[in-house]
């Protein structure tokens, strides 16, 4: 049997647009990040947050159960830590692996722009980070309504609040992962940097705040900012001393800045292998 070279009529195939090419990168990214570590973090986040919410709302409800009851997991540090974990698990290798294998050259030799590559990568990471940031709250709200713990209108408000808060957290942590992953060809370094930067920032903010007592210092903490926004969207009573709008702007602007930083960085590594 002879092996005939493939002959195609290129013009007969209708090429799909840039959106489909970005979707291909998104699909690849989602699949590539679906490791055991990622699934463990996702499973832990869902179980822990749903359990906390159901205990608070359905099993041991305090009368009356309102929207504020859903703020329980978001008021502590467990939720942002889980997001940090999934960010490190999925984001560390996102661009670093392409730099290490130099496959980024092949990506950029195809008919896509750098922004398309970055968009596909960001969407893939956002899928996993958003799953942890929004998923448990949304599922818990649906379960709470189904079990009769809250009314449908409260459950819907809780879902909207979870999505809004989750989108903000997703934007920031996606930007963080991309920026640090684009800075090195070693995924391990990027993972350590993701943890080191956020935890270092939290510890520093706490230390400086404890020393100076300056009320503006906590706004530098991403965890505190997300808590501020959480208290606001879930209408938690007694939390009136913060400016949630300011916190939301800080976190959103930081996420946008980090994505811009990533783009600027990748503009410079186009000539990798030169």
């Amino acid at each position: 049997m002879s092996i005939a070279p493939p002959r195609y009529a290129a013009e007969s195939i209708v090429r799909v647009g840039r959106g489909s090419r970005i979707a291909a990168i998104f699909e690849r990214e989602v699949g590539a990040r679906a490791g055991v570590g990622t699934w463990l973090v996702v499973a832990f986040a869902f179980l822990s947050n749903i359990l906390v919410l159901l205990i608070r709302i359905v099993i041991f409800p305090s009368e009356p159960v309102g929207l504020s009851a859903f703020s329980t997991p978001y008021g502590g540090t467990l939720w942002p830590l889980e997001i940090l974990l999934v960010t490190a698990a999925t984001g560390a290798g996102s661009i670093a692996e392409d730099l290490a294998s130099r496959s980024i050259t092949l990506y950029l030799s195809r008919p896509i722009h750098l922004v398309d590559y970055l968009g596909g990568k960001a969407a893939g990471l956002a899928f996993w980070i958003g799953l942890v940031a929004m998923g448990p709250g949304v599922v818990a709200a649906i379960m709470a309504a189904a079990l009769g713990g809250v009314s449908a209108s409260i459950a819907l408000s809780a879902i909207l609040a979870c999505v809004g808060l989750g989108l903000l957290a997703t934007a920031f942590f996606t930007g963080l992962a991309l920026a640090l992953s684009a800075w090195t060809a070693r995924a391990l370094y990027a993972g350590v940097a993701i943890f080191g930067l956020i935890l270092g920032l939290e510890i520093s903010v706490l230390a400086i705040w404890g020393t100076t007592g300056n009320a503006q210092i906590p706004y530098l903490s991403v965890f505190v900012d997300l808590q501020n926004v959480a208290y606001y969207v879930f209408q938690s009573p007694g939390i009136t001393s913060t400016y949630p709008g300011l916190s939301a702007v800080y976190v959103g602007a930081a996420g946008a800045f980090l994505i811009l930083l990533t783009w600027l960085r990748l503009e410079r590594v186009e000539v990798v292998g030169e």
């Binding site: 290129a10 195939i13 291909a24 692996e97 130099r102 092949l106 030799s109 008919p111 000539v271 292998g273």
Partner: protein
């Protein structure tokens, strides 16, 4: 669309003050083009400029009439690129990787998968297509790189050092594959290499670079034809008598063994045949001296005089 495949006009490219290309101008027609020069000559830089992956410092480049700076996606849709360096995603299977690259080139998912199967068969990796790329040998990885460059059926392929790192058998197999690609028809290849023997028998045009400067560009046959008018005569007979007879007819032969090199204008072969007749010598071959690509490259290097760097 312009008739020429490539149109490079006064292109210079610097990286941090280091000149990679200097005032390069060339026009090349469709065909199989060798882009030759030593390491650091600017070959890879030129390919990336043509793909629009990096902008030129000055000048313009056109591929199929598309400006590399303004219409890079139009160029990349029509070009397959096989980089010199390793660039595969080690955790992917060969079929997954090649079909992924096809999708990035704009092929629908089902079409991409079908073509990935075809092209992996073509490069001889049918049996290995479901294995992870990290398990592949150097030769197999080169084939995957070629497959991903061909999978979207581009009318032009940039092949950067396709035989680099291969053992002699692997090199022969890769060159055979490239000949098969060339013979598909309606497909142009740009073969970037510093291995000059790879060029002969495969390419019909050549673009020679050295130190970022153009040494020569044009049809290979024209450039390789002996410019000194030397004719090679291979014969069977007495070399001394034949040499003396040639001298009697006004020629100045240089004889080594059974081969004589003589210089004459058109029509001078008559004296050669007369000398052979006079000495009962059998002419077994008579033709113009043809240089190898290496001869041409070395002679151009010798004649090139670049200004000293400040």
């Amino acid at each position: 669309m312009a008739a020429s495949l490539l149109d490079v006009d006064q292109v210079s490219k610097s990286f941090g003050g280091q000149d990679a290309l200097v005032g390069l101008s060339a026009q090349l027609a469709p065909g199989t083009i060798a882009l030759v020069g030593p390491n650091g000559a600017g070959k890879t830089t030129l390919l990336r400029l043509l793909l629009g992956m990096i902008p030129p410092t000055t000048g313009t480049l056109r591929v199929f009439g598309y400006d590399s700076r303004l219409q890079p996606l139009s160029i990349r849709e029509r070009v397959g690129y096989m980089p010199e360096h390793d660039c595969l995603i080690p955790t992917m299977t060969a079929i997954g990787f090649v079909s992924f690259m096809a999708r990035l080139s704009g092929l629908p998912k089902e079409v991409a998968i079908g073509r990935a199967h075809d092209v992996l068969q073509f490069v001889g990796l049918r049996e290995e297509r479901y294995r992870k790329l990290k398990e592949f040998s150097v030769g197999m990885r080169q084939r995957v790189k070629l497959a991903q460059a061909l999978v979207h059926d581009p009318p032009l392929c940039f092949l950067d050092e396709p035989t680099a790192g291969l053992d002699p058998q692997g090199r022969d197999e890769m060159l055979a594959l490239l000949r098969a690609v060339r013979n598909l028809g309606n497909r142009s290849l740009i073969l970037s290499t510093h291995l000059l023997p790879d060029v002969e028998g495969l390419c019909d045009q050549i673009l020679m670079l050295d130190g970022g400067r153009l040494l020569a560009a044009g049809p290979l046959a024209t450039l390789l034809a002996g410019s000194d008018g030397t004719t090679v005569v291979r014969f069977r007979g007495d070399a001394d008598r034949f040499g003396a007879a040639l001298r009697d007819h006004g020629l100045a032969p240089k004889i080594v063994g059974n081969e004589a090199r003589v210089e004459f204008r058109d029509g001078g072969s008559r004296e050669v045949f007369q000398a052979a007749f006079d000495t009962q010598t059998e002419i077994r071959y008579l033709g113009r001296s043809v240089r190898t690509v290496e001869d041409l490259f070395l002679s151009l290097l010798d004649s090139a005089a670049y200004p000293e760097a400040p």
